[in-house]
């Protein structure tokens, strides 16, 4: 049989190439461009090589933001993953209550992100917020997220957990529902305890969805911007200034585009590398090569 020599079919990929070019490649290359030049104005620029990157890496404020970011993402994963799985295990399995539980659970996911920040800002205000006022005036515990870094972190974590645990729970629930009944029957016949059933059937069978949940939650929490920006604006002091908030301060606030560009590229690389590592690690869990 003759091979088809006409390669014009490749032309059909042009629309996609154009879209990807304008939505990803060109903006990214612009950032690369900014990161290696110092631009003063139109026509006035100097090629500076890796200078921007070096200065970014030596910026202690950036390093603080980075550790803050790791702490935040770590706490988010430590709380949301187990909590999401617990919620999924406790959810009803049939009947009308399933739909109810799903809708209630999905509600926080449907709210725009900066609205969430606003909701929690009002909710936790010490003077008029339901939560803030109750804690301060009824329980008598001083709590103010605009004044105390600890309180700001507690508020942020509460908001984050409220906002995103449902995603983990929904994914875990889908994973649980996909386990065929015979596994539970076999476990019953083998006399497995509820814990053993969870450990040896449910958890391994949820590995796929939990990998996705972990990756999504890591990425989103590592890139978080809108909610803390609205809630605390990075304060008090710099205590909730995460990488993206600091980045926006650099780029928009100080109009330091070169440094901000170098910073973005490093930020991008960190997320990419960590996601890759997580994915690889989870793929290997429980697989264990046969000798």
């Amino acid at each position: 049989m003759n091979k088809w020599e006409n390669n014009r079919a490749w032309l059909l990929t042009i629309p996609v190439l154009i879209i990807v070019a304008f939505s990803a490649i060109i903006p990214l290359m612009t950032v690369v461009n900014y990161s290696v030049q110092d631009i003063f104005g139109p026509g006035q620029r100097i090629f500076v090589g890796t200078e921007m990157f070096r200065s970014v890496l030596h910026d202690y404020r950036l390093r603080d933001a980075l550790w803050r970011q790791f702490l935040f993402s770590g706490l988010v994963l430590l709380i949301e993953m187990p909590l999401g799985v617990l919620i999924a295990l406790a959810m009803p399995k049939k009947g009308w209550s399933v739909s109810l539980a799903l809708v209630v659970l999905a509600l926080p996911l449907l709210i725009p992100w900066n609205t969430i920040g606003t909701i929690w800002m009002i909710f936790t205000r010490p003077d008029i917020g339901l939560f803030g006022a109750t804690i301060n005036n009824v329980l008598g515990i001083p709590f103010d997220h605009t004044a105390s870094p600890i309180d700001a972190w507690i508020t942020l974590m509460l908001m984050e957990v409220w906002h995103w645990t449902p995603l983990v729970a929904l994914l875990a629930y889908a994973g649980l529902r996909a386990i065929p009944d015979v596994y539970y029957q076999a476990a019953k016949i083998d006399g497995a305890s509820p814990w053993a059933t969870f450990r040896y059937i449910q958890l391994p069978k949820m590995r796929g969805v939990l990998t996705i949940a972990l990756l999504l939650r890591f990425m989103d929490s590592f890139l978080i911007y809108a909610e803390p920006f609205v809630l605390t604006g990075g304060g008090p002091g710099n205590s909730t200034t995460f990488l993206s908030i600091y980045l926006v301060k650099l780029a928009v606030g100080q109009f330091d585009l070169g440094t901000a560009a170098a910073f973005s590229l490093i930020y991008f690389l960190i997320v990419e590398v960590l996601c890759f590592l997580f994915y690889q690690a989870l793929q290997n869990v429980g697989k264990g090569a046969n000798p």
């Binding site: 065929p180 015979v182 596994y183 029957q185 076999a186 019953k188 016949i189 083998d190 006399g191 497995a192 305890s193 053993a196 040896y200 059937i201 391994p204 069978k205 429980g286 697989k287 264990g288 046969n290 000798p291």
Partner: protein, 361 residues
């Protein structure tokens, strides 16, 4: 090990079963003897799996009692009944090794480490799994996985019975035969009560000492493969066992003779006597193997037309048109057959009479 008894067990998946058709299992009274190898055979949807789940305790029947060695276990959950079940698809604990899989039921029952180790090695030996003990169970082939499922039942030396729910569905044909023999060996070695659900008659007939035929939620006959073939007690058994199934013709009884559309067929005296009091519509049944076909007129031969001949190598299936009704005959290779006019003989000693689907005897 146990003798399992069904005391008028009936089951419905509906909340308020009213009529008989609401029941997936219609009142069954049956005994599975200790140490017997039973096959539960029937078409898809006849209630085989439901029956199996009632035995294992995964389902509690709507009515009736289940007895193990005379003790009522109807309300007991599966883990209390000490039963093992092998499912259609291999059910394994993926993250565990083969060894851990086999040890799991014993660990759950808090058995000592040394004892577990000994049992696991014994069972692995029986199932030819010793070489795989340290492997992850997830990476093995389907037949090995199914052996592990079986092994999880065998490790418990006091297991009441092992139930199989079409366990060979996902196994390659050439391995099916091997696994079936393995099961038979295990049965002879350990004398366990085995109940094996299948819709494949070959599987049932080669595996079991006794075959239980189910049809629409009822047990219609229990017997050895030979009994099922020679004396089907229900029309369904005649039709389901044997390939092709039994031929049935509507008929009218008159003394020692039946008439099929005016054609006269002689019966044995005892067959005719048993049928005299029958009330329902009568049907004559005969196995294809016992129909005699000749291309020349013979004594007692009835005129018919041979429509088709399928030569299967060791025998021939002949399709016959007899008074506009289709009959099948199974002829040995050495008997010549040709399309066209033919004469069929119904040997009286092989004719069965059925009324409302049930054998008259």
């Amino acid at each position: 090990m146990a003798r399992i008894e069904f005391d008028d067990v009936a089951h419905s998946y509906l909340r308020n079963p009213q009529k008989e058709t609401d029941y997936a299992i219609k009142t069954i009274r049956n005994v599975w003897d200790d140490g017997g190898a039973y096959a539960l055979l029937g078409p898809s949807g006849c209630g085989k799996t439901t029956l199996l789940n009632i035995i294992s305790g995964l389902l509690t029947p709507t009515k009736g009692r289940v007895l193990y060695n005379g003790i009522d276990v109807t309300a007991l959950p599966p883990e209390k009944r000490n039963i093992a079940q092998v499912f259609q698809f291999p059910v394994l604990y993926d993250t565990m090794t083969v060894y851990e899989n086999l040890a799991f039921p014993l660990q759950n029952r808090r058995m000592g480490k040394i004892e577990i180790d000994q049992r696991v090695h014994e069972v692995a030996e029986i199932l030819d799994l010793t070489a795989f003990l340290k492997h992850k169970a997830a990476g093995l082939a389907a037949d090995a996985k199914q052996k592990i499922s079986l092994g999880r039942g065998l490790v418990r030396s006091d297991v009441a019975a092992i139930l199989f729910d079409e366990p060979l569905t996902v196994i390659d044909p050439h391995l099916k035969w091997h696994l079936r023999r393995k099961l038979k060996e295990i049965h002879e070695q350990l004398k366990l009560t085995l109940i094996y659900v299948t819709h494949d008659q070959m599987e049932a007939l080669t595996f079991a000492e006794k075959v239980v035929i189910m049809y629409e939620g009822e047990i219609v006959q229990t017997g050895t493969p030979e009994e099922l073939f020679e004396n089907p007690e229900h029309k369904f058994v005649g039709f389901f066992i044997g390939s092709p199934g039994m031929n049935f013709l509507r008929c009218r009884l008159d003394g020692n003779v039946v008439y099929v559309d005016g054609e006269r067929i002689k019966l044995e005296a005892k067959t005719a006597d048993a049928a005299q009091k029958a009330l329902g519509a009568l049907e004559l049944g005969i196995r294809p193997k016992y129909l005699e076909v000749s291309s020349t007129p013979v004594e007692n031969g009835l005129a018919a037309i041979v429509k088709n001949i399928e030569d299967l190598g060791s025998y021939k299936i002949v399709t016959i048109l007899f008074n506009d009704k289709t009959l099948y005959a199974r002829l040995p290779e050495d008997i010549p057959a040709a399309k066209g006019k033919a004469w069929v003989v119904f040997p009286p000693q092989k004719i069965k009479l059925y009324s409302d689907g049930r054998l008259l005897k």
